[in-house]
Amino acid sequence: MLHTVNKSPFQNGALESCLRFINEGDVILLIEDGVFGARTGTAKAALIENVLKTNKVYALSADVQARGITSVIDGIEVTDYAGFVDLVEQHSVHSWL
């Protein structure tokens, strides 16, 4: 499955909820304010670093750039909308709105 997370992990529990329900082989895509979770050196970085041990995590480049994020946690793959579409093609989707 593909889990999209569009909320900032600093203001909203969506990412943490998502992590509770994730299966082996599932992937996470951070979009919109969700990409704040992709930034290095934050108080929430451990959440992502931890899930990266078992699952693949992507972040949407348009959102990363729009927020001026230049340093992304090691292991996160930054992808564009075309990559987003590919992920949807490969997995069924749950949006953690």
Binding site: S17, R20, F21, I22, N23, S92
Partner: protein
């Protein structure tokens, strides 16, 4: 139900009344139940508060929808699940849950089924599509 009937899941993660999502989401569930689909509903996070008994919206001046939950089983929406940890974190017990129908044989109240995260994750993985409301 034939084998190629599609599995559609609804996830309810928001609390009732603060926004219209739970209410308008309920309208979708009732409509979709009339179609040939295998429907399930999972309440998790603040969504579990939508299932709290005894919601009185009169002083707010808005319509409630607890009564509609009471007929979910009549609408053939009987796969209704609620996440155990979300309930525990939010101070809810099984006794707090609304009744969603009555067992035809025993006439006993039917309530949502309490499940854990692993069970929900396994169900999610089987779905054709999942709609968050």
């Amino acid at each position: 139900m034939s084998d190629d009937v599609k599995k559609i899941m609804f996830t309810v993660r928001k609390g009732p009344h603060g926004t219209i999502y739970v209410y308008e989401g309920l309208e979708v569930k009732l409509i979709m139940a009339a179609y040939d689909a295998d429907i399930s509903v999972v309440f998790m996070d603040d969504g579990v508060y939508a299932l709290q008994q005894g919601q009185k919206t009169g002083d707010l001046g808005i319509k409630g929808f607890e009564a509609t939950y009471g007929v979910l089983v009549d609408y053939e929406i009987s796969k209704v699940y609620v996440d155990k940890k979300s309930m525990e974190d939010r101070g809810m017990t099984v006794e707090d849950l609304v009744v969603i129908g009555e067992d035809e044989d025993t006439e006993e109240d039917i309530r949502p089924t309490v499940v854990d995260a692993d069970q929900i994750a396994a169900m999610m993985a089987e779905q054709h599509n999942i709609l968050p409301f």
